[in-house]
Amino acid sequence: MKALIERLEKKFRVTDPVMQRADETFFTVDKADAVALITHLREREGFTHLSFLTAVDWLEDGKFQLTYLLNNNAMKADVGVRVFLDRERPVMESVHHLWKQAATYQRELKEMFGIDFPGSPRIDEPFILEGWHDIPPYRRDFDTKKYSEETYFPRPGRTTHDPADYMKQKLYPEE
């Protein structure tokens, strides 16, 4: 794994590698280099299986993190490629030409986070939600509880026992 990171660092702007396990490494790559790096990993290093593609919202830093998890079945190893996007204008190059299922992941990210992937097939079609009018729901600034209380009819009489209080009384009364 170390040798792989060193090889990659020579070619691409790879920073911040974290060896999570012996067979799993996460590292950050510059946005401009990302698709080239992923293509390189797939074509030359044998990371042929895209396990998933997802996003993490770092609201405080004003950034979205995309995580591509690539898997090499011969080497039995995973790399997680982190790409940071600007939260104001989240646009990323598409990888649908490398993996067919990537188009589906990108459709989901477009809908749930509002991250655009120009050129990806059917990117603007709704995937999960129907008739959604609010901000994309997986963003951190979307408050699902408030939305639920305003939109659906909470049944009166439902008292919400905060599990934290309950657990404190039952499990940790001395604290």
């Binding site: 799993e24 895209l50 993490v56 998890l69 589906t104 509880k145 599990p163 657990m167 499990l171």
Partner: protein, 392 residues
């Protein structure tokens, strides 16, 4: 009376890349929806099919009917509050969610779970696989018009659910693997009752073998239908039995051994020519393998001992910043959780990687093309998809 003779030798023209040209206004195509309210669909999802005659020209998968926003809900729950929530992501096989979530959290928090708990988790996961395969086998034969197999396999599945009830008290949602261990070990006399159940399942599997796999109708309809090329496996992200039936030996239990699988003796089951018949047959062999593995686990596992690690106060349980991905082999393929923590008491982000995600959308849209409309239900089932894990 319209003159239809000019349409009789109509053969649809194709694009240079082999895709079909579809012009709905030409009255040569019909758009129909299979699902969500349709008995031949796996759960609550739908296929938008454009057909010409009996042949499917284009297929679009529509999901989202079961979307509950788990990944959002988990962000506003403490780690221990997520535990009862995660098992509800995939209904027929909830234990893999519990295991993957618990394993990611334990890895990030640096918790080692006791030996007995590791064995217990292995046992539950393998029982869960067996239960889910039994249910699927019934569905698969039902899709080709053989309902009696579904009656048998669902009956023996119920016997397995009884064993689950003995362990955890839960019938569908077992909720037995909180972060830090398991909630209990096997009760007294469990091994004998389990052995009896396994014998019953073996007997039923003999009948299923005779009735389903030697059935002329089932063979005629399923052999050669829904072929998966080995080259598609990486291109479409196919995992699990669908990939193994194409001859690609991908099995997380062997490739990335987790829990006690390294200590168990088994081989990866593969087959050639992944058509519906081969895939169903492969799943039958997986059932027999699961039975064997459960016997091995019961023979080796400790019956007493510590089963819960010493946990911090879960109210103030903060997990340091980090991210990890843990995968396991469920009945459909690679099931994984990607958990990101930011040092607070809540997970920053949890992403569920369900195997049906790739099978039901990208692969199904490709495989349904040029297939007979009557076979789409069987084709859909042979990929073994569960919609709730696609949209979460």
């Amino acid at each position: 009376m319209a003159d239809i003779s000019k349409y009789r030798d109509f053969f649809p023209p194709k694009n240079p890349d082999g895709t079909n040209i579809i012009d709905l206004e030409s009255h040569k195509f019909v758009k129909i929806w299979q699902g969500p309210q349709h008995p031949g669909i796996t759960g609550n999802m739908s296929l938008e099919l454009i057909i010409q005659g009996d042949e499917v020209m284009e297929c679009k998968t529509h999901v989202g009917y079961l979307h509950r926003g788990f990944e959002k809900l988990m962000e506003r729950r403490k780690f221990i509050q997520c535990f009862p929530l995660v098992c509800r992501i995939a209904v027929p096989e909830p234990d893999f969610n519990e295991y993957c979530f618990a394993a990611t959290v334990e890895e990030l928090a640096g918790i080692e779970i006791p030996e007995a708990a590791v064995w217990m988790r292995t046992l539950i996961l393998e029982m869960s696989r067996l239960t889910s395969f039994l249910m699927h086998l019934g569905g698969q034969s039902g899709a080709f018009g053989l309902g009696v197999v579904a009656q048998w396999t669902n009956y023996v599945r119920d016997l397995m659910l009884d064993r689950f009830e003995e362990i955890s008290g839960g019938r569908i949602y077992r909720m037995h693997m909180p972060p830090g261990g398991v909630r209990g070990l096997t009760p007294d006399g469990f091994d004998a009752r389990m052995e009896e159940t396994l014998r019953t399942i073996e007997d039923v599997m003999k009948d299923v073998d005779t009735t389903l796999f030697n059935n002329a109708v089932f063979k005629r309809r399923s052999v050669g239908l829904g072929y998966i090329d080995p080259a598609w496996v990486d291109l479409y992200g196919i995992t699990g039995p669908n990939a193994r039936a194409a001859g690609v030996p991908k099995d997380v239990r062997k490739d990335y051994p987790y829990l006690k699988y390294p200590e168990l003796d088994f081989d990866v089951i593969t087959a050639k020519d992944s058509d519906i018949y081969t895939r169903t047959d492969l799943r039958r062999r997986e059932i027999l393998l699961s039975i064997d593995l459960i016997r091995q686990i019961l023979a080796k596992m400790p019956k007493t001992g510590e089963y819960m690690a010493k946990m911090p106060n879960v109210l103030h349980w903060r997990i340091p910043k980090g991210e990890t991905y843990i995968r396991s082999e469920c009945t459909r393929g690679e099931y994984g959780f990607y958990t990101v923590t930011d040092g607070s008491g809540y997970p920053r982000r949890v992403n569920v990687r369900g195997p049906s995600y790739t099978h039901a959308v990208a692969l199904m849209e490709r495989m349904a093309i040029d297939c007979n409309i009557a076979d789409t239900a069987g084709l859909m089932l042979s990929l073994h998809t569960y919609p709730p894990e696609i949209e979460r």
